[in-house]
Symmetry: C2
Subunit: 255 residues, 2 copies
């Protein structure tokens, strides 16, 4: 099977023009088929603030009422996504920007209301790679914004780590998939104060142990849950790293 | 050659949920291959106002400084485009939203500064339909926002009527293209006060005469210039009408 590299980058890397350009330089150097999945977190919060819309986060997840859905649609699906596409085209990478609504790529359902009403937040039901595989065969590079749709005309805000994992599993049916989660650190750290204390190999029992003793916590837990889910479902390699290590493949490797 | 219908809709139709839904119902009823090109005019002005950004129009064209470029990228490329895509998917139409940067679809150059500096406004150089034709063969429906790119990493604001005309000419090399310009009236009117005074057949000499005597003026002139350019360059039929007449094909036909 052909190799397909899926790179997920977080909002922080994307917001800063310098780190975004450095990331895109590295990304373009990856040979073969590739997909970029981006977040956009704080830029949506900033835009919401400018528009007088209050941002509420619960456990790191954005409460997405109607006005906030418009903001994330504009910022993730428009501003961030199309800027990345234009910058990739300038590097000779034939990119196409997508949400989950485009090509019916990622269908989701509105998260049911429990104690918390997340609003227009989507949990993924189905990934359809049919038309995208045609494009990938033509050396096109999909750039995916963290938005899905419910098939009834509504867009939904969906976590970018989850999207990366879900599409990695779908494409693993047709490609040998390498999934890279890029963030600010060089990998999952044993000691948050020491940037070089990288855990190079991480398997499920060790992940469980590190959760129990508090070494791994907060936002890193759902990220790794997504990574392990991908690894379990046919994805060849899952790496947590920063964009500078994309080429070298150094970082935390899920086993 | 297979038939391809290109429908351009203006901002006013798109902004109002009722007319947008009516338009999309009609659009989905068109059989065969199709493309939707949308404007978004006033929604960008409204968003700019909310963000404290001043809007300046010169002869109906938006001066697009850096902050305004971000606004039109968000509103046209994100909010308007992705909403339309989600609403088409809900109707079983497999849509994909695009700017000119996606798939390197429409390359343009920044309009040279003369007496007026339009800012990040693009004049079209080249339309590339290669990958889009693959998608159209798979019954995919492109939905095109009025944004182009310069190949150097910059998005550019480009008139939607012009985009519709330019892509119609490119696709006319491969398809029998029908280009419909939809706006609020049933066609080009002889008397602005009488909505039924439609000029059904319009050729170039008559267009010239109506310009000279003031029957046709203002924004209708560049729209018709675009239409006649398409007609001259291989597009089979150009019709100016409203969305209710999409199916019947009634309206002003360029000869």
């Amino acid at each position: 099977m052909d190799r397909l590299t899926i790179v997920k980058v977080g909002g922080k890397v994307v917001e800063n023009p310098e780190s975004l350009n450095a990331l895109l330089d590295q990304f373009c150097r990856i040979s073969g088929n590739k997909i970029l999945v981006h977040g956009g977190g704080r830029s949506a919060t900033e835009m919401a603030t400018k528009l007088g819309i209050e941002t509420t986060m619960v456990e790191g997840r954005r409460i997405t009422h109607k006005e906030m859905l418009d903001v994330v649609t504009m910022v993730y699906g428009g501003l961030v996504n199309k800027k990345i596409v234009a910058l990739l085209q300038a590097r000779g990478c034939n990119a196409i920007g997508l949400t989950g609504a485009d090509l019916d790529f990622i269908k989701a359902h509105k998260r049911p209301v429990t104690e918390i009403d997340y609003g227009f937040v989507g949990d993924v039901d189905d990934v359809n790679s049919n038309e995208l595989r045609l494009l990938i065969n033509e050396n096109v590079i999909p750039v995916v914004a963290p938005l899905t749709h419910d098939g009834k005309g509504n867009l939904l805000n969906t976590n970018a780590d989850t999207i990366a994992s879900e599409i990695a599993v779908e494409f693993a049916r047709y490609f040998s998939v390498y999934l890279f989660y890029c963030f600010e650190k060089k990998g999952v750290l044993k000691d948050q104060k020491d940037d070089n204390s990288i855990i190079y190999d991480l398997d499920l029992p060790l992940f469980q142990q590190y959760q129990n003793d508090g070494t791994i916590k907060e936002g890193m837990i759902p990220k790794l849950d997504n990574g392990f889910r991908a690894k379990k479902n046919g994805v060849k390699e899952v790496l947590i790293t920063n964009h500078e290590n994309l080429a070298s493949g150094r970082g935390t490797r899920l086993m």
